[in-house]
């Protein structure tokens, strides 16, 4: 069953990297509960909100590094390597050391966000540090669920410009988080 899951993820990510946004959203939604389970299993001491922060770090990293996945190699080792790296990073940032054997990941059960998903605090802080327009674009598309086209219309930007601005904003977020972490 686990092998099948990896295969499904692989197909979704392959379609995503070929430009299929819907497959990409499904991929992220499919891996999130599993990654949340891993982060919670490793980061009990961080508390649910802290774990959600780390999870969002992991998701942002997966997003910005998705071109490093080779379509002919299995998704799971790739995914877990990023997750492990970011969990270790999160602990280091909090002045702690953690041993994260990668073999453990296979046994972790997916964790539900729960009825009232934890609000992670870090990302909101980082978004507030972006320039006004970038922050608006991320809030509109993420929090309000406005489409790229509609966001463009509201900000009198072309759709392409919104996409580029969104991409840059996400990259900047990752850099801000890295700096904030250090």
């Amino acid at each position: 069953m686990m092998a099948d899951q990896g295969e499904v993820w692989g197909q979704l990510l392959m379609a995503a990297n070929a430009g299929d946004a819907r497959s990409y959203a499904r991929f992220l939604q499919a891996v999130t509960p599993v990654l949340r389970g891993i982060v919670r299993a490793k980061g009990v001491s961080l508390g649910p909100a802290g774990c959600e922060d780390v999870l969002q770090d992991v998701l942002l990293a997966i997003h910005l590094k998705r071109h490093t996945w080779k379509p002919d190699s299995p998704v799971r080792p790739w995914l877990y390597a990023i997750t492990r790296y970011k969990i270790i990073d999160a602990f280091r940032a909090r002045g702690r050391k953690i041993d994260v054997p990668i073999d453990d990941f296979a046994d972790v059960l997916a964790a539900d966000a729960g009825p009232d998903p934890t609000e992670a605090a870090d990302m909101a802080k980082m978004i507030a540090m972006l320039d006004g327009r970038s922050a608006t674009i991320i809030r509109k598309i993420g929090l309000e669920g406005v489409s790229v086209a509609q966001t463009g219309a509201e900000l009198t930007m072309s759709e392409g410009a919104v996409r580029v601005a969104l991409h840059r904003a996400l990259k900047t977020l990752a850099i801000l988080r890295e700096r904030h972490v250090k």
Binding site: A61, K65, H67, A81, I82, P117, E119, G145, V148, L166
Partner: protein, 211 residues
């Protein structure tokens, strides 16, 4: 921000980055071409280049450093992927180093005792020790760029192989100019130049290749 909101923002970002292999080719090929061109224009190829290329002991320099460059580049490309640190095996690099040391030993034994010191020092040691690191700058920088675009989970090892790859290629290119065909010279000084560049690249890697 809730994770579902983040996912929505991530999924809306459809700007794609090129595959690492593409980035590598676009970065490394021009930087090696520039290095060859620089050697050709500034230093000039050795006059007897074709003869040298047919002489095993002379061409061994290019083969050894070239193989080092290719093997280390492949490792760099592997280590640029997050799961690469679990898969990468560095022993092929040790094989190249062992072959070079074997050649050095062979040359030491076959060179008469009174001629050894002159063979080691040679005539162009300084040029060699300056030129190889200079020629390494662009290739090493190109490899570091690829690794930055990638997601290495082993910054130290990634910096190490990037240094070996860039300086290996640089030494192979420098050998098109250099006329010192005795392994006592080239294993020693090419080797020292490569070790120096690799050390610097490793130190940079541990800091700059984190993400």
């Amino acid at each position: 921000m809730k994770t579902d909101d983040l996912i929505r923002a991530l999924a809306a970002d459809t700007v794609h980055q090129p595959q690492l292999r593409t980035t590598l080719i676009l970065g490394l090929v021009p930087s090696l071409a520039i290095a060859v061109l620089t050697v050709w224009v500034v230093l000039g190829f050795r006059a007897d280049l074709l003869t040298a290329l047919a002489t095993p002991i002379s061409v061994a320099r290019i083969v050894l450093t070239g193989v080092l460059g290719i093997a280390a580049t492949r490792l760099a490309l592997l280590l640029a992927r997050p799961e690469g640190s679990q898969i990468a095996r560095l022993w092929p690099l040790a094989v190249v180093a062992a072959a070079a040391l074997g050649l050095l030993l062979w040359a030491y034994v076959t060179t008469p005792a009174q001629a050894r010191q002159m063979a080691i020092v040679g005539k162009t040691m300084a040029t060699c020790l300056v030129t190889i690191p200079l020629l390494s700058v662009l290739p090493v920088a190109a490899l570091h760029y690829v690794l930055r675009q990638g997601a290495t989970t082993a910054p130290l090892r990634a910096g190490f192989v990037a240094g070996l790859a860039g300086s290996g290629f640089a030494a192979a290119i420098y050998a098109l100019h250099c006329t010192e065909d005795n392994p006592l010279f080239y294993v020693t000084w090419y080797g020292l130049a490569i070790v120096g560049v690799t050390l610097v690249s490793t130190l940079i890697g541990t800091r700059a290749l984190r993400w």
